[in-house]
Symmetry: C2
DNA sequence: CCACTTCAGGTTGACTTGACCACAAGTAGC
DNA sequence: GCTACTTGTGGTCAAGTCAACCTGAAGTGG
């Protein structure tokens, strides 16, 4: 009994990696994520979240970080545990039971351009996921997007998408891409400045076809926890 | 390599079970939770969260539910995943690596009175944990309390501590016990009634030494997710 | 019948938020 | 060089939210 239990249970770590890219048609900034085409059963040839079995030598977050390296070859600007999925019947056709601990991550807006898309890895807009995905990964993606949208409203994680210096309009476009709705520039400015998460660099952007915006940088943040632990809706 | 990895990794499910009990000295309502005294190494004789290895036949939430049965012999009014803890060094003295998926639960204010305290199970106020606990359970308890306090402010889970019918003062005392601070009765009433999570039964409490309060019941809630999935601070 | 306690409901002022307006400061086209 | 255009910057105003506080309602106990 005990032997059978241990034998047929696999612990895996998967990661939902978010990046911002311009929509190829409209040119507007939208959320994208990388998917991996499975080359083995179960769910052979279906798209799945990047990840793999947990190596005994690594912490959970380290395993997620390694997945990021293999998939995007860049360091995440933000990495956070999402949820552990472990229902008995979540992979009915798999030979063993898989419990997945899922992380989600943000990579910088410019960094992912240098990514050499490895074989079987493809980026997709979150609104156009080529489903159904393997396992319960559709549910996981939907939940990760919900978490990201919720978190952006009470935490300065959106900065992670931007380079060192940025204008408030840049930041606003990130928020608009994540929340998928337009924000009033004036109100957005007031809100961001009041919460003290950005610092004025004193410099302005140059070469714009209009009034040059001030440049800001992220203020150093005080984290309450040593771990990055987060909450559910 | 692979064999060693599988062999030395154990997946466990633990549960932080909250109940409200009067403080034995002041008589005020406070948060309590059950701890189990370990009878084996590692951390022998130290207090730990109830739980155990994951049985291959059960979902994660089912495993947490079973832990509740063994520990408190009552059904939880609320059960929700907290976090997965899996650092390599979280149990340095243990022979194998343990990854714990931790749930937290609420049991009704009256129900836990009928609990037959099993051997090695003892309830403790969350502010007087007999630490240090086994493994990283001190950290887990602290995080679970934080999650509960955060969640009570935007979700009607506090109702879970109360019987079918209750007065707004009852509900307010639950909030005060969880948040550990006094709330203005008048503002609390307005806030609760405006969010529509309670229904007026039309009846009033009797036998009080003052104006009899109206009795309310919880309104049926609409959950966004089939699973109970939650968010982190 | 009066004192006391708690419930119930209303008022007020500080603060937040969204909608909107006006000006600032650059480029592009003529 | 002038004007149109675009986008950043800053302010106003009204609606809504929230904490502090006040007053009366309705019961029990002396």
């Amino acid at each position: 009994m005990s032997a059978e239990t241990e034998q047929h249970l696999v612990l895996a770590v998967s990661t939902v990696i978010f990046s911002l890219r311009p929509d190829p048609e409209t040119g507007e900034l939208t959320l994208w994520l990388p998917l991996v085409r499975r080359i083995r059963e179960p769910f052979k040839n279906r798209w799945a979240l990047p990840g793999g079995p947990l190596d005994n030598a690594h912490d959970l977050a380290e395993a997620a970080n390694n997945t990021m390296q293999h998939t995007t070859q860049v360091q995440p600007r933000h990495l956070e545990q999402l949820y552990a999925f472990g229902d008995v019947d979540r992979s009915p056709e798999a030979p063993e039971r898989v419990v997945s601990i899922v992380y989600w991550a943000l990579v910088g807006q410019d960094e992912d351009l240098q990514v050499v898309d490895a074989e079987n890895v493809e980026w997709h807009p979150v609104e156009e996921i080529p489903g159904p995905l393997a396992f319960d990964h559709d549910l996981i993606v939907r939940y990760a997007v919900d978490r990201l949208r919720a978190k952006v409203t009470y935490s300065p994680i959106a900065h992670a998408f931007l380079p060192e210096e940025f204008s408030l309009a840049d930041l606003r476009r990130v928020y608009e891409a994540i929340l998928n709705r337009a924000l009033d520039p004036s109100n957005f400015r007031r809100q961001i400045l009041s919460q003290g998460t950005v610092q004025d660099t004193g410099r302005r952007m140059t070469g714009t076809a209009h009034r040059p915006p001030k440049l800001y940088r992220s203020a150093p943040q005080s984290s309450r926890y040593a771990l990055t632990i987060e909450e559910n809706p």
